[in-house]
Subunit: 156 residues, 2 copies
DNA sequence: CTGGGGCATCCGCCTCAGCGGACGACACCG
DNA sequence: CGGTGTCGTCCGCTGAGGCGGATGCCCCAG
């Protein structure tokens, strides 16, 4: 019946996985996890935007997959991820692995540092990297999960 | 918080402006600027995804405003902006003003620095900020257009 | 054993994203 | 002048996004 919507492990069908993953992340305990009805109600209450249980299930089961701007924003807002999470698989995996970048960029000073670091020479960057890493040790923070991906965000 | 959607003069109807703005940015010369038909064809060719002239006009004129994931990605890809541009007004104005953050984050080392800076104390951040600013002066780069936004990325 | 509540799944409906095609209005060219 | 091309604008349709409501299953209170 279905012509060829199977086996696209690669690119598009990911949306269902993402939603399920976020749901699992939000409710790690399988036992106390609410069903789609309660979840939808929660989303409605927390974001103020509409969201139906049926549709949530359809998304999680991969039945509907081309979301609308509104829905996209609603979900992103509720799950606390940047909206791009649902659009860009690269961003998704990065956020998925740690969420650190997005969180880091919420700090205005960190953002300023990132902006100012752009364009500096490699040697200077290495020096700065050493400094900030050292600062981490001094302040007894963890080794800061670095994004291990070697790719760039978006080609032009 | 604004549960009610205020008169469409405000935040929502922005999409039309954004598209027009991007179009103007891409074709600064009013005379040689192609119409919606040509533009749509160009988008189709460049992204490989479908896009009709009529719909493009409907978007630019504010007639349709709740885009779909696919359309969103297509437009973002064509105009060379992150998809969030269309979703988040804060991101929009930032990207609009300079596009610097996105570019900066393409450098792996800059990204690492940003990641490691997260969580450090305010004092340490100030110190690092001073260092990197100083490094800029030494390497004779400009004062690094800092995003002048005063707020945080995403409210809640 | 019986009833109520939450669950996943399904069906049918309605709105609207997205498009094809057509219409006047210009502008250029023979 | 009348063609030919592109422009902005519009109407009407199709398909899918999004939802309300119904179904059967399982679990716990009574």
């Amino acid at each position: 019946m279905d012509p060829e919507q199977r086996a696209d492990t690669g690119a598009e069908g990911r949306l269902a996985e993402k939603i399920n993953h976020l749901r699992d992340r939000l409710y790690p305990d399988k036992a106390s996890r609410p069903g789609y009805a309660k979840l939808a109600a929660q989303i409605r209450e927390q974001t103020g935007k509409p969201m139906s249980a049926t549709y949530l299930w359809e998304l999680a089961s991969g039945r509907k997959r081309n979301l609308t701007q509104d829905t996209l924003v609603t979900l992103a807002e509720f799950f606390g991820v940047p909206a791009e999470y649902f659009l860009d698989d690269v961003v998704a995996s990065r956020v998925d692995a740690q969420l650190d970048l997005a969180i880091a960029l919420r700090n205005q000073k960190v953002r300023s540092i990132a902006l100012r670091a752009e364009g500096l020479s490699d040697d200077t960057l290495d020096a700065l990297l050493a400094m900030v890493t050292e600062a981490r040790r001094i302040e007894r923070l963890g080794p800061a999960t670095d994004a291990g991906d070697g790719g760039q965000a978006r080609g032009e």
